[in-house]
Every structure is written in C-alpha cells, then in structure tokens.
C-alpha cells in the first residue's frame, strides 16, 4: 500500500510554547488513522498544518506527493476538512451551503448538483435541504458540516473531533458514515479524545500527548505495550478521597499502576477479577464507599494510562 500522507518531524511553536513537537507518521491509502489524545494534545494544530492553514515551524508533510508548505493549492485539491467547530453559513439552507462549498472546491453544473443530492442522502437531510441551517438541531448541523467536507470526494479527509457535543443518534450516524466512506476508498485522518471511537474506527492509532506522538500502531500493537494487563475501575463517593485509595492500592503486589480521575481510581492489574476483592477490602479499611466497579480488558485507555501516567480524559 502507498502512503498518501507522510509527516516528518513536524514542529509548531508559538513563542516558547511547543504545540506540536516533532511528530512523524505515515497514512496509507484507504486507511482510517486516528490521532487519539486529550484536549490540548496538539491534534487540531497538527490538522491545521496538514490542511495548509498553519505553516509549520519546522519539519515537512507531503500529501499525495505535494508538500503542504510548497504546494498548498495542490494539497487543498486532495483534501477535505471537517473542522471541530461548525463552519457553515447558518442563514443559508443546507443545499445553499453545499452548493457554495462545492463551487469553492471547483465543482459546477450537473456534477455539483449530483454530488449535492448524494451528500444530502448520505447525511440524511434530503427532506430538510431547503431549511435554513439555523433551524437545525446540533446533530443535524454537524451532519451538514461533515457533508461539506465530502462534496468533492477528497482523497484524504481530515475529521477533527466531529462528534464533540452531539446526541448519541447523530454520533452513531457519523461513525457509520466514516466507515462507509472508508469502504468506498476514502482515506481518513480522524482526531478524537474518545477512546471508544478510535477503537471502533481505526486501522491504526497515533496517541498524542503534550504535542508529542507517544505511540503509534494498530490497536493490537498498542495494547501489547501494556502486556496482558487489565484495568479495574473503581468509582468512589463524592465525599471520599480517591487519592487515598489509590495510594493504598499501589501497595498491593498485583497492582502495576493506580491513577485517579475525578472520583474514579483506574488500576492496572494482570487480572481485574482477582484484584477486586483486595481492592474492596482496602477501601473498606479506609472507610471509602465504592459505588460501582468496571473491569476492562487491555485497551487504548490502558495504553494511554501506561504511557502517560494519567487517564485520557484528564
């Protein structure tokens, strides 16, 4: 398989602050590649550089054989961008929005009209196409936002956290659309801080934190980094101190790591089921009430915890 995107030592600095710190990765044609990381990890800055909006401080990125810095127009013809925030004219109808953006991507005449119909079908808004976007629900607006990025059938589609703040139904529709687009041959670079989305969609995942790409590979390759470890998640009461429980759990022989997020203690152990009883005992000894318990097999959350010492939603 051929790489459609090659990123080499890409850096973006704002004064003393380094937003993206020398990341390198490739994306193969036909692949869904996810950049997974918490807010502020540098995902959006990376997409902004790849979509020619920001000029990198150093490093290089090549899309379809064209440098993003030296041939931005050639790159823009190959890519589609679905930004994190809505970027639509809310006083225009969905159809008018699609027509405008389609023309800005060089479509016209019958081709444009045909693509508008296809995209409206794809995002499930054929019946609402003549309504102004400002009358839509949040989820419907998100779907139009995605539709705009698909109009010109880009070779590489950048989707920057497209499911933030929307209802579960719209989220499901978007995830299914991404899979469908990929089946049709579109390469997708998807950024998210939702581990479940990265797990569901991606052929490969790059994990970002503090501007760095700290891990890269398939889900199986990444979870191997935490070995056969499982995660035991303990939810404690609002008045209890989860940090005290984490400290106590770390003294258990079987516990490899114990970290706190809000009122949750995430514990990395070889077998979560076996660790449950001692963990509950320790909690009782400390007078901490456990409200609920989750047990998870090795996943990206555990990988992130393993690599950074903090939970993904921190």
């Amino acid at each position: 398989m051929k790489a459609i995107l090659e990123v080499k030592q890409l850096v973006k600095k704002y004064g003393d602050f380094t937003a993206v710190d020398g990341i390198s990765f490739d994306i193969m044609e036909g692949e869904i590649f996810s950049l997974l990381g918490p807010n502020g990890a540098g995902k959006t800055t990376t997409i902004s550089m790849l979509s020619t909006l920001y000029i990198p401080t150093s490093g290089e990125a090549v899309i379809g054989g064209h440098s993003v810095t030296k041939e931005p127009m050639a790159v823009r013809n190959l890519i589609g961008v679905v930004p994190q925030d809505l970027a639509l004219y809310e006083d225009l109808t969905a159809r008018e929005n699609l027509a405008f953006w389609g023309q800005m991507y060089g479509l016209s005449g019958k081709t444009l009209n045909a693509r508008i119909e296809q995209v409206l079908e794809q995002i499930g808004l054929v019946d609402k196409a003549k309504d102004r976007v400002k009358t839509y629900s949040g989820g419907m607006k998100r779907r139009v936002n995605i539709g705009v990025g698909l109009l010109h059938k880009p070779k590489l589609l950048f989707m920057d956290e497209p499911t933030v703040g929307i209802d579960p139904q719209s989220r499901r529709l978007i995830l299914d659309s991404v899979k469908e687009l990929n089946k049709q041959g579109m390469t997708v670079l998807y950024t998210t801080h939702y581990m479940e989305e990265a797990e569901e969609l991606s052929d490969r995942v790059g994990i970002m934190d503090n501007g760095k790409l700290i891990a890269l590979g398939t889900q199986a390759e990444l979870t191997k980094q935490v070995g056969e470890m499982e995660t035991l998640i303990l939810h404690v009461g609002e008045n209890d101190d989860p940090e005290r429980l984490a400290v106590a759990l770390r003294s258990l022989k079987m516990v490899r790591k114990a970290d706190v997020t809000d009122h949750t203690v995430s514990v990395i152990v070889p077998e979560a089921e076996q660790a449950l009883a001692p963990a509950v005992t320790r909690a009782n000894e400390l007078g901490i009430k456990i409200h609920s318990v989750d047990m998870r097999e090795p996943n990206l959350e555990a990988v992130f915890l393993h690599l950074t010492g903090k939970a993904l939603r921190d």
Binding site: S51, T52, A87, L88, Y89, D91, Q103, M104
Partner: protein
C-alpha cells in the same frame, strides 16, 4: 472568476436574508434625504427675528422707524393691528412686540420725549436680540433728532421764527438733512476677506441628496469589517482557506460584491434625487460614475482595513455605524462645511467623506466634468490604496 461570483452571490443572500437590511439599504436613506432636502431652509429665506409692530401714529416718523427696522439684519418688522399683534404675541408666535404710540410725530418729538412700548418674552434670546436691534434704530434716529433740535436752537439765536409752523418746518428740514448726512457717512471700517469666495449658493436639495447618499453608502462599506469578523467567528474563513481558494480570491469577491451593491444603492438614491427632488444629477454622468466608484472604493478599503482590527461582528457593526456617521457629519454630508470653523474645515480633509462630498457638489453645483473632479477622485483613490495595502497586509483568518 466563478469563485468570485460565487462569493458575491453568497454574500448577497446573507446580506438580504433579513428584510431589515432594506431599511438601511433604501428606506432610511430615502427618508433622511427627503427630510433634509426640505428641512434645512434656503439661503434666500428671511431668517430674521419676527418683530410685531403696531403703528398707532401712522405718521411720517413712525413710517420712518418701521422703514429703518426693515433695513435691520436682525429683525423683520411685521406691522399689525394692536389686537392682532397682541394675539400673536400671546400665542408665542413672536417673541417681541413694538407699539408705536399715537403721538409719535415730529411735532411732539421737537418738544417732548416719545415713549415706545416694547414687549418681550422673558428669558428669550431672540427677544433680547430684537431689543438691541430696535435700540440701534432708535439711537440712529435719536441722533438725527438731537442734531435737528440743536439746529433749531442755533437758528433762533440768529433770528426768530415768524410762527410755530416756520419753526416746525425748519426742524423737519434739519432732521431730513441730518438723516441724509448720516446715511451717506463713509464706512470707517475696511473689511478685507482672504481666499477665494465660492460664488455657489447652498442648495439644500443637492446637499441632502449627495450627503445622505455618501452617509448611507459609507456605513455598509465600512461594515465590510463585519463580514470578515463574521466569517472568522463562524470558522467559515478558516474552512474556505483549506479549499483551493486563495486569500486574494476571497478578498476580491467580498470587496467587489460590496462595492457593486453600493453602486446599485447609489444609483437608486441618485434616481430619487433626480426624479423627486429635481437635483441635477444628470449634469455629467461620466463624472458622477467616477465619483461613485472612487468613493465606494475608498470606503470599502477603509472597511477592509478596519476588518483586521476588530475581533467580533458586533464590534465591527458598532464601529462602522459610529465611524460612518461621524465621518459623514464632519465631512459636510449633513450640514455645509462652511458652518464649521476654518480650522475644522482644514482638519476634516483627512476624511474620505469630505472629498467624496466635495466631488459630488463639484458635479452638482459647480457643473464640473470628469477633468474637473479628477483631483478629488485622485485623493479618494489614494485613500483606497493606503487602506487596502494596510488591510491586505494585516489580513488574518482567525
């Protein structure tokens, strides 16, 4: 080219998506043009203070007083009967009333003082000004009377008058002679005015039509800054610049669209001025086209530059209305620049509205053609060039 057209079309739909835009595009400009065309008066109108006069004497002397008052630059005597004058005064239709008593004749004047009755509205500046004007006229007449009285006294020292009629006749002759000499006295003040006096008279219809057009076209053009802020706030500009659309294409489309709509707006307002107010907009269509285009470009460039300083659409909207109104006011679009002090008249030359207004009036009132308005058009183009360069260099998508 297709993309530029596409941007213009999109901006047009967005601009007119709300009917309230028509209010600013056409309705308010027409209303203000119409009101100001008739509301500012003409140069030939008599703006002197109305002075109610009751002439109970009906004598040559009372007629003379009224004639002198009529020559005043301050008051305009309106001779009425006592009842009518009192009724007007009570109704506050005039702030001052002068009653000339029945004994006001030269015979009484020669032997005794005559008391005129001047009634004023309290705390009224017009009444006070009228009082001074009446006093000035009476002082002038009084001086002549004193001279005539002295002449009679001196004449009697040389020889006695045969009768009272002779004395009165001598007094009348002396009075007439004194008044004649006083009226023909040479000016002792020599006033020298510098500069070239513009012989063109103020025409409220022309000023209103041109001034309101500039005002209401400059405001939305300065409002281009709002269009940039709108696109930045909504992220559409960012998205646009990830499509195969250059910064230049976007700027050209946005600016060109606004300039074209401003030309449409100006054409409608010019038509209204020509057809309804009978303003001579058809004097020189080519010169008018040059002035319309250069004015629109200067305003659009100012909007482009401001667009790089404002952060939000609301900020841009407030600023463009405030700046447009202030610039129009100081540029002579609402009141003739001649009403401002000379220093201000020079200072406001830094405003494009001043030049736009001057160019329009050059066409309307001074009958200038393309060659005549070229210097003004050149200044407007210079404004446009400076503002565009700053705006384009500073342009950012977020």
């Amino acid at each position: 080219m297709k993309k530029i057209y596409n941007i213009i079309w999109k901006d047009t739909i967005l601009r007119f998506s709300s009917l309230s835009e028509l209010l600013f595009f056409l309705i308010l400009p027409l209303i203000f043009t119409f009101i100001l065309a008739g509301g500012t008066g003409t140069q030939n109108a008599d703006n002197r203070i109305r002075l109610l006069v009751v002439d109970q004497a009906q004598s040559p002397l009372s007629a003379q007083i009224i004639a002198e008052l009529a020559k005043s630059a301050t008051v305009r005597p309106d001779v009425l009967t006592l009842s009518k004058a009192e009724s007007e005064f009570q109704a506050r239709n005039a702030s001052v009333l002068l009653v000339i008593p029945a004994d006001c004749d030269s015979q009484t004047l020669r032997t005794a003082a005559i008391v005129l009755d001047l009634r004023q509205m309290p705390d009224n500046l017009n009444a006070q000004a009228a009082q001074r004007a009446v006093q000035a006229v009476l002082y002038r007449l009084g001086s002549a009377v004193s001279i005539a009285k002295n002449a009679v006294t001196e004449a009697e020292k040389l020889r006695s008058f045969a009768s009272e009629l002779d004395r009165q006749a001598y007094f009348d002759t002396a009075l007439a002679s004194a008044q004649s000499l006083m009226n023909s006295a040479p000016d002792r003040e020599n006033v020298v005015m510098g500069g070239t006096i513009d012989p063109i008279q103020y025409d409220p219809r022309a000023n209103s039509s041109a001034g309101q057009m500039i005002t209401w076209v400059f405001i939305p053009l300065i409002g281009i800054s709002g269009a940039f802020a709108y696109e930045r706030q909504r992220g559409t500009l960012r998205r646009l610049l990830t499509s195969p659309t250059g910064k230049g294409t976007y700027l050209l489309g946005t600016i060109l669209g606004n300039v074209l709509w401003s030309l449409v707006q100006m054409t409608l307002l010019v038509s209204f001025g020509a057809l309804i107010l009978k303003v001579h907009w058809a004097n020189n269509p080519a010169a008018l086209a040059v002035m319309m285009t250069t004015s629109a470009l200067a305003a659009a460039a100012l909007g482009t530059m401001l667009g790089t300083f404002v952060k939000t659409e609301a900020q841009a909207s407030g600023l463009s209305i405030m700046l447009g109104m202030v610039m129009a006011l100081l540029g002579g679009c609402w009141y003739p620049l001649e009403l401002f002090p000379a220093v201000v008249q020079n200072l406001v030359k830094v405003l494009p509205t001043t030049w736009a207004m001057q160019g329009m009036l050059d066409i309307l009132l001074r009958g200038q053609g393309v060659i005549g308005i070229l210097p003004v058009a050149g200044v407007l183009l210079a404004f446009a060039a400076v503002f565009f360069v700053i705006g384009i260099l500073r342009f950012k998508y977020e």
